[in-house]
Amino acid sequence: MRIFSKFLHFFILIICLLIQIVFFEYLKMFSIHFDLVMVAVVAVAFFDGTIWGILYGFIIGILMDLMVGDVVGISAFIYAIDGFLVDRLITVGFKSRWLAYLSIVFLVTEVNILLVNLIYYLFNYEINWLNMSIKLASTPFFNIILVFVLFPLIRISSGRRREIEIEL
């Protein structure tokens, strides 16, 4: 059953990748930035464990880079880090399950945007501060909308609920 759920989650991630390329990348032309793949990786890391989050983040990132990326490996690196961040963030502790989902996606999105800009800056790209600020302000809210679809889906398909550690 657990192996089946891992395959199922991989399949869901592939579907998310295709939807991202076919539809959500198109929305970026209207400055609507959804990152469906990131939300899916976070959900998998949350319910299947951090190692699975890192591995799936890497695999799906590589596939994305192979299909549309400029430099192969950058998205893989970023999504793997996103999977890892979930482990660091859930230890902060939230009492409400939904609050935990939303806060984690919010924080991972913010870190993701900063990380992406940092990496591209290291690769000699210029940082567009205005564009980055707009993304920092808007993308988390778009991604939070996706949480309401993806998290319950991954949660049900994982067949169990990961306990949230509460550190007081």
Binding site: L18, I19, I21, V22, F23, E25, Y26, L27, K28, M29, F30, T50, I51, I54, L55, F58, I62, L63, D65, L66, M67, V68, G69, D70, V71, V72, G73, I74, A76, F77, A80, I81, F84, D87, V116, Y120, Y125, E126, N128, N131
Partner: protein, 266 residues
């Protein structure tokens, strides 16, 4: 081994692997190019299905946008139409005259281009990168470097080809660089994209006259056929410390409305 230690080991291995892949990617490895082409081909059939599933959503978004801009557009089109009607009769006469003179001088008549039709099945727009995926590849005769147009003009150049699909770098991509001309003055320059998505015409001397509204076409000296419409000059800036003018271009093609395109065979 405790859980946290395993996580750190996994992360470290993945980071090392990513650095290796990024290095290989920067070296433009043939193997990686082949893998990219195979990946594109592998996902093409599913991507086509997804693309047709999402087409009504794309159409809905475009229709909403059109509806909002309808009145402004209607007035613009009306004005442009009356202008074009006047120009059309001049154009028809000039064309006949031009063909007659060409025959007289023994110059070949202008020819149409051989094209391959394709459908857009994917998009990617982020951090200066602006690409689309088409459902035609080397099996249909598509080669790297071929120009891609739609009914309004040039939209980009094929950057990577698989057997059944290809990636097209749009002209607003920061890596895009295409030889171009100003139609009226015949000045040569280079059309470049930027990280902000702006398209500029570079290498036009600050001493040359360039006006807002000037039409930009492809140059016959580049890899693409000449005389293909690209866009219109939207802004011209002169700078005392720059020997070249800063010229921004507004493309004729609407990148938000790309569905069916033509690939120009060389």
């Amino acid at each position: 081994m405790n859980r946290r230690f395993r996580i750190y080991i996994t992360l470290a291995l993945i980071i090392i692997l990513c650095l290796v892949i990024i290095t290989v990617s920067f070296r433009q490895s043939e193997l990686l190019v082949t893998i990219r082409a195979r990946t594109l081909d592998f996902f093409k059939p599913i991507q086509e299905e997804f693309s047709s599933f999402f087409k009504p959503f794309h159409n809905f978004i475009n229709s909403t946008r059109d509806y909002i801009n309808l009145r402004g557009k209607y007035l613009d089109v009306k004005a442009e139409n009356s202008e074009l009607r006047k120009e059309y009769s001049d154009y028809a006469n000039l064309r006949i005259e031009n063909d007659a003179l060409r025959k007289l001088l023994g110059i070949k008549l202008r020819e149409g281009h051989d094209t391959i039709s394709a459908q857009v099945v994917g998009f990617y727009k982020d951090r200066g990168q602006s690409e689309i995926i088409l459902n035609a590849g080397s099996g249909e005769g598509v080669r790297q470097g071929m120009g891609v147009i739609n009914e309004y003009g040039l939209i980009g150049v094929v950057a990577l080809t698989g057997d059944d699909s290809c990636n097209v770098r749009l002209i607003d991509d920061s890596k895009s660089s295409i030889g171009a001309r100003i139609l009226s003055s015949r000045q040569l320059g280079v059309i470049k994209g930027s990280q902000e998505g702006k398209i500029t015409l570079d290498y036009i001397s600050s001493e040359e006259d360039v006006f807002k509204g000037d039409i930009i076409i492809t140059s016959e000296y580049g890899n693409l056929p000449g005389e293909i419409l690209i866009g219109r000059v939207s802004r011209v800036v002169d700078s005392s410390d720059n020997p070249y003018k800063i010229i921004e271009i507004e493309p004729f093609a609407d990148f938000k409305r790309l569905e069916n395109v033509l690939i120009l065979k060389k």
